[in-house]
C-alpha cells in the first residue's frame, strides 16, 4: 500500500485571473510540502486551505468520475484528481484547460461545450415511446458492447483541450460531443441515426477531424473518441448515400 513518508517541497506555478482586477491572466507561485501519494488536486486544495484561499478551482468526487477537475498540467490536459505528483519534478505548472475561455483562475467557461453536447441530440430517439408496463427492450451483450465504450465519457473536456482542430475551428463539434452522438447511433434501442448523421454532416462537421488522435491519447476513461469520430465519418457517408435510395420521414 502507498506509504505516507517524506514530504517533498514542490513549486506550483498556477494561472491566476480575476476579470475585475486583471487585464490578462498571470501566474503565481506557491511552495507546497507534498506527501508522496498526493495527486495534483491535493496540492491545489492545500494551497486553497493553507496558503491562498483566493484560488478558485473546480473539483468534486476526487475519484475520476465526475469530470470537474480537468486542467493543463505542464502543458498537458489532465484530470488533477487522478494525476500523481510522482510524475513531476520540483516545479509543476497548473493552467486552466486549453482552448476554453477562462472565467477565473483555473475555472473555464463550459457553456460552449454544453451547446455542442446538446446539438448532437444525446437522447434515445424513437418513433413510438414505450410504456413502463411493456418492459425493457431486449439488448444482447453484443449489442451493448457496440456502444458501451462510447458511453463512458465523463465530460471532463480534456479531449477538447488536446484537439488541434478545436484550437483552430470554433464550429467543430469536438470529440466528446461526436462520441456521444455516435454512442446513441450505435445503441440498438435508438432510431435517431439519420437525424444525428445530418448534424454530423452539418456546420460542426465530423469531417473537420484530421485524425490527430490526441483526444484518445488524453482521455482518462479510454472512450477513444477518435474511433467514434472516424467511425461516424463512414456512417455519415453511408447515411448520405442511402438517403437518396430510401425514403426518409422528416
Amino acid at each position: 500500500m502507498a506509504d505516507s513518508g517524506e514530504l517533498r517541497k514542490r513549486t506550483f506555478v498556477v494561472t491566476r485571473f480575476d476579470p475585475d482586477k486583471d487585464q490578462v491572466p498571470k501566474t503565481q507561485s506557491y511552495e507546497v510540502p507534498c506527501r508522496p501519494e498526493w495527486k495534483v488536486l491535493d496540492a491545489l486544495n492545500y494551497i486553497k486551505d493553507e496558503i491562498d484561499p483566493t484560488l478558485s478551482h473546480r473539483w468534486s468526487c476526487r475519484m475520476a468520475v465526475c469530470g470537474s477537475c480537468g486542467m493543463n498540467v505542464n502543458g498537458e490536459p489532465k484530470l488533477t484528481c487522478k494525476t500523481s505528483l510522482a510524475e513531476y519534478g520540483d516545479t509543476v505548472e497548473v493552467a486552466p484547460l486549453a482552448n476554453f475561455p477562462i472565467i477565473r483562475d483555473l475555472v473555464i467557461e463550459m457553456d460552449g461545450f454544453m451547446e455542442k453536447f446538446k446539438a448532437v441530440k444525446p437522447w434515445v430517439i424513437v418513433a413510438k415511446e414505450k410504456a413502463a408496463e411493456e418492459g425493457t427492450y431486449r439488448q444482447s451483450p453484443a449489442q451493448l458492447a457496440a456502444f458501451k465504450q462510447f458511453s463512458m465519457c465523463i465530460n471532463c473536456m480534456l479531449c477538447y483541450a488536446a484537439c488541434p482542430v478545436v484550437a483552430k475551428e470554433p464550429d467543430f463539434l469536438g470529440p466528446a460531443a461526436i462520441a456521444l452522438g455516435h454512442r446513441y447511433n450505435m445503441d440498438s434501442r435508438d432510431e435517431g441515426a439519420p437525424e444525428r448523421n445530418e448534424i454530423f454532416r452539418g456546420e460542426g462537421t465530423v469531417f473537420s477531424c484530421s485524425y490527430a488522435n490526441e483526444c484518445s491519447e488524453v482521455c482518462p476513461k479510454h472512450v477513444d473518441p477518435a474511433a467514434a469520430i472516424n467511425q461516424s465519418k463512414l456512417l455519415a457517408v453511408i447515411d448520405w448515400a442511402t438517403s437518396f435510395v430510401v425514403k426518409r420521414e422528416k
Binding site: 505548472e93 476554453f100 475561455p101 467557461e109 460552449g112 484550437a167 488522435n213 472516424n230
Partner: protein, 146 residues
C-alpha cells in the same frame, strides 16, 4: 507559457455574465513529439500535390511526342528529382503505416449485418493489398506483364 487559440474557440453563442480571458494553447502544443508526427503526417499533403504536378508534366510530355518524352526521362535522372522521389516514397510509407495502424478502430462495430474482421486480419489485408498493387505496378512498368 501559453499562446492564443482561435479567439472564438469553445465560446458559447451568447456571452456569459462576466468577462473571460481568451482561450489559450500551451507554447509547446505544436512541437510535442506526438503533435510533430501528426503535423508531418498532414504536411505530406504537399508532397502529393507536387507528385500530382509531376504527373501533369508527364502527361504534357506524352502529348508532345517522343523527343519531349526522352527529355523528360533524362531530367528524372537528375539528383533533384531522384531525391524528391525518395522523399515521396518515404512519405507514402510513413502515411501508409500510420493510416493502417489507425484504420481498424475507424471501423464501426456493425453496419447493417456486416461486421469488420479483427484488427490483425485487417492489417494483414491492408498490407497484402498494398504489396500486391505495388508488385502489379512494378510488373506493368517494368515491361514484364502483361
Amino acid at each position: 507559457m501559453t499562446r492564443p487559440s482561435d479567439p472564438q474557440a469553445m465560446t458559447p453563442s451568447k456571452p456569459g455574465r462576466t468577462r473571460t480571458a481568451p482561450p489559450q494553447l500551451p507554447d509547446d502544443f505544436w512541437t510535442r513529439p506526438r503533435m510533430r508526427t501528426y503535423l508531418l503526417f498532414d504536411a505530406t499533403g504537399i508532397v502529393y500535390l507536387l507528385v500530382g504536378l509531376i504527373a501533369l508534366r508527364v502527361a504534357w510530355a506524352l502529348a508532345d511526342g517522343a523527343p519531349a518524352w526522352d527529355a523528360l526521362l533524362q531530367s528524372f535522372a537528375s539528383p533533384g528529382y531522384v531525391l524528391f522521389h525518395i522523399l515521396a516514397l518515404i512519405s507514402a510509407i510513413f502515411v501508409g503505416v500510420r493510416f493502417f495502424r489507425l484504420f481498424p478502430k475507424a471501423q464501426p462495430a456493425q453496419i447493417g449485418p456486416v461486421k469488420p474482421p479483427p484488427p490483425a486480419v485487417l492489417h494483414a489485408l491492408l498490407y497484402a493489398a498494398w504489396g500486391g498493387i505495388t508488385l502489379v505496378l512494378l510488373a506493368v512498368f517494368g515491361g514484364i506483364w502483361p
